[in-house]
């Protein structure tokens, strides 16, 4: 183990990292784990966080592993968004990773950092919430595995290190959509993931940015389960509109807990949640739904209709083509 009075510690194993973390805490020092630093470094600079010890995880190679078992995928805490972008084993996750920040942020930001920061509309966490992921941690009390939702709801354990997340291998189509300010510079205001399992006949939908953590849309999921023709994995176009309405209603019921951002009033978030969910649902199950019809169903005199106009954020723009990244209509020139 390499000790240094400078406050920077660089363990090479998970065991060492956990030991350093508890030793620092026992000595009464404020300690922070460091993944890529995209959240921590600007926060230190701005004085939002004060720490005396930093435990850099860059050299812990066992955290950088991305693995696949017979029916599960395991992603180490040190894996970056860029590592996930090209991952063919989980196209849904790859898609969520691809719309995080900029190339600079995707090359640097890690899975462990996303769990440590636990942003309400984190792209990764919204997707993983829909995918029923589990979080693996190690603390002086030993290793622990818990559902992501429980991990996020609990108070963070200050002496625990996230080592990996684990999710089922995909059993059907999945998609991820987000909306907010300029993607390269700001995390999403509202995000939505839909994960379809054609083997188990289930559909999961999570919406981020409408609570302290991404929320599962339980009523809409139950409706979908009944509405989908599982033999073909498709739905009618009316089902997408109904699905969107159910998500809007569920989000409305959460109004008191909605986070308030500079751009996102509660009303805006509720509306955006329904629109994103309807689109994500249709993309997974009915790509043939006529675009103008969908736009007409989903965009009646919207309060922020300019934000949600099909030409800035719709299936018929090059930006929203599934093969391209800027689903919220931002490019280098910024949509707004």
């Amino acid at each position: 183990m390499h000790w240094s009075a400078s406050g920077m510690l660089r363990p090479s194993t998970v065991g060492e990292a956990v030991e350093m973390l508890s030793a620092a805490r026992a000595a009464g020092l404020e300690a922070a784990l460091l993944g890529g630093g995209t959240d921590l470094v600007p926060a230190l600079r701005a004085g939002q966080r004060q720490v005396q010890t930093i435990i850099g995880l860059r050299r812990v190679l066992e955290l950088r592993v991305r693995g696949a078992g017979a029916d599960r995928l395991t992603i180490g805490a040190g894996v970056t968004y860029t590592d996930l972008v090209g991952w063919s084993l989980s196209p849904g996750l790859a898609r969520a990773a691809r719309v995080v920040g900029s190339a600079q942020i995707r090359n640097t930001g890690t899975v462990g950092g996303a769990l440590g920061s636990a942003r309400p509309a984190s792209d990764l966490l919204t997707f993983l919430t829909a995918a029923d992921a589990e979080v693996l941690t190690v603390s002086p009390r030993g290793p622990r595995r818990q559902p992501l939702a429980r991990f996020l709801a609990a108070r963070p354990e200050p002496d625990a290190l996230v080592t990996a997340v684990r999710l089922a291998r995909p059993g059907g189509p999945a998609t991820y959509l987000k909306i907010g300010g300029r993607q390269a510079a700001y995390p999403a205001e509202v995000s939505c993931a839909v994960v379809v399992d054609r083997v188990r006949h289930t559909l999961a939908c999570a919406v981020g940015g409408i609570g302290r953590q991404p929320v599962r849309m339980v009523e809409a999921e139950a409706y979908a389960q009944a509405a989908v023709d599982w033999a073909t994995g498709t739905v009618s176009s009316a089902a997408a509109a109904r699905f969107a309405d159910l998500v809007t209603e569920a989000t409305q019921a959460l109004t008191p807990t909605l986070p308030v951002g500079p751009h996102g009033s509660a009303r805006y978030r509720i509306h955006a949640a329904g629109v994103l969910a309807g689109r994500a649902f249709a993309r997974c199950l009915n790509p043939a739904i006529a675009r103008p019809a969908l736009a007409a169903t989903l965009l009646p005199a919207a309060p922020h209709s300019d934000f949600l106009r099909p030409d800035t954020f719709g299936p018929d723009t090059p930006h929203a083509d599934p093969a391209t990244p800027h689903v919220d209509g931002t490019g280098p020139q910024g949509a707004r």
């Binding site: 470094v41 600007p42 600079q104």
Partner: protein, 203 residues
């Protein structure tokens, strides 16, 4: 800095000779003061950093401690790309990287790209195509474009936009920057004949 300086005379200062003795002394002093001491490989030179604050970003250390002004400092929040560097070959915003954590990596700024013909060609085209106005964003763009064209020499318009989304330019409106990249591709025989229509960027 203008594009033309970047390759030639903006190189790093020669590494200061630091004997084992002096180094041990510096280390002891730094440890005593609780200040960081580490080494950074910047543009191929090993530089010793002492007396830096634990929380200093790579950007701060490069500019304020090592005098490497080839990286520009603007937002310090990871949002503008002015401070872009390569870390072990990957594009990163140096203001979001902890300097002490970059010990053991290879950091390359625009000044360290100079030897590669590609970086020179990019800088030349930035100038000839009018992609440099105030020039503040240029070092970051040149690093990002060099990384992109090394990885994807035939990047199309969408890929270029995606790869450069993290670099802001307040002057050019980006059209000239994309034109410069297209010109580099053309010059290298990568852009297909008839691809000239793509050179003008209509957002």
């Amino acid at each position: 800095m203008s594009g033309s300086e970047a390759g030639s005379n903006a190189g790093p200062e020669p590494p200061r000779p630091l004997g084992a003795e002096a180094e041990a002394e510096a280390e002891a002093a730094a440890e005593a003061g609780g200040l960081a001491l580490y080494r950074l490989n910047v543009d191929g030179f090993l530089r010793t950093v002492s007396g830096a604050w634990l929380g200093d970003s790579l950007l701060t250390v490069l500019r304020d401690r090592l005098g490497v002004t080839a990286v520009k400092d603007a937002c310090e929040q990871g949002r503008c790309g002015a401070c872009s560097v390569l870390i072990d070959g990957r594009l990163a915003a140096s203001c979001t990287v902890l300097a002490a954590d970059a010990d053991g990596t290879r950091v390359v700024t625009v000044a360290g790209l100079g030897a590669s013909g590609l970086a020179r060609a990019i800088q030349a085209r930035f100038l000839s195509e009018g992609a440099v106005q105030c020039g503040f964003c240029t070092p970051g763009f040149v690093v990002a474009v060099t990384e992109l064209l090394t990885r994807r020499p035939d990047a199309d318009d969408q890929e270029i936009r995606e790869a450069l989304a993290g670099n802001l330019c307040r002057c050019t409106g980006y059209g000239r920057i994309v034109a410069a990249i297209r010109a580099v591709q053309q010059e290298r025989g990568i852009l297909p004949i008839g691809g000239e229509d793509d050179v003008e960027w209509h957002p």
